[in-house]
Amino acid sequence: MDLSILLSPPVAFLICLALCAGIYGLGHLVEEKGVPVEGKYEPYACGESYKAEKLHFGYRKFYIAAIFFTIMHVAVLTIATVPGGAGAYRALIYLGTMAASISFIFMEFE
């Protein structure tokens, strides 16, 4: 009999799930049954009533920084790999474009 099937992810997952359910059930069996009282299952807030609030995470500032660093990284990579010689001045045009792009970003978000 091939027992290696026990190590396959779905079977191992089901075994772990059954084990966890068993431990949870055992805990439920041996626990002391308390008297239900007001506030027992409310969120712990140092004894105070916790007023639920909706949170809205803002990524606005993160995007400013992320786009800024992306542009700067590409700019640095481009400048670093510009071939030398008479045509190297064209990198300045590229840098100017980059500076304008970054300025637009900050103008837009500010």
């Binding site: 041996v30 626990e31 002391e32 049954k33 027992k40 409310e42 712990y44 004894g47």
Partner: protein, 143 residues
């Protein structure tokens, strides 16, 4: 099974420290008891930050009228079985604040207390002794 549960509880009681209006004198001593010099953890005692994980509520202060409801709710939020230790003279009977217009004169005015440890401020040795006696009494109940 009951013996096993008591053994687990006595060997590793988790505590919640709550100041219900103390002057901080007893709180400093409680913290000193938990620090390495006195090392209450050698008895398996572990300080927790939530009443949901605590077996013992270690309470200092005379219980101000403002905090009484909060103390009751924290006690209610602890899982069964739960124990309360009144630490310091104020927690036991109101101490220096007894008779003041804004205090309840002791923890037992609000929640049932399992052990009283008087002192002003209380010595860490007394806290260790009180907790050891409480744990000893728990062990004896199931012996």
């Amino acid at each position: 099974m009951e013996k096993f549960k008591t053994w687990a509880r006595v060997k590793s009681p988790w505590i919640l420290h709550f100041n219900s209006g103390a002057c901080n004198g007893c709180d400093i001593e409680i913290l000193a008891t938990l620090m390495p010099h006195y090392d209450l953890e050698r008895f398996g005692v572990l300080l927790k930050a939530s009443p949901r994980h605590a077996d013992i509520l270690v309470c200092s202060g005379p219980v101000t009228k403002q905090i009484a409801k909060r103390l009751r709710r924290i006690y209610d939020q602890m899982p069964e079985p739960k124990f309360v230790v009144a630490v310091g003279a104020c927690a036991c009977s109101g101490g220096a604040f007894r008779g003041c217009y804004n205090v309840m004169e002791g923890i037992d005015q609000v929640i049932p207390v399992s052990a009283y440890i008087p002192g002003c401020p209380i010595r860490p040795e007394a806290i260790i002794d009180g907790l050891a006696k409480l744990l000893g009494s728990l062990q004896q109940k199931t012996a």
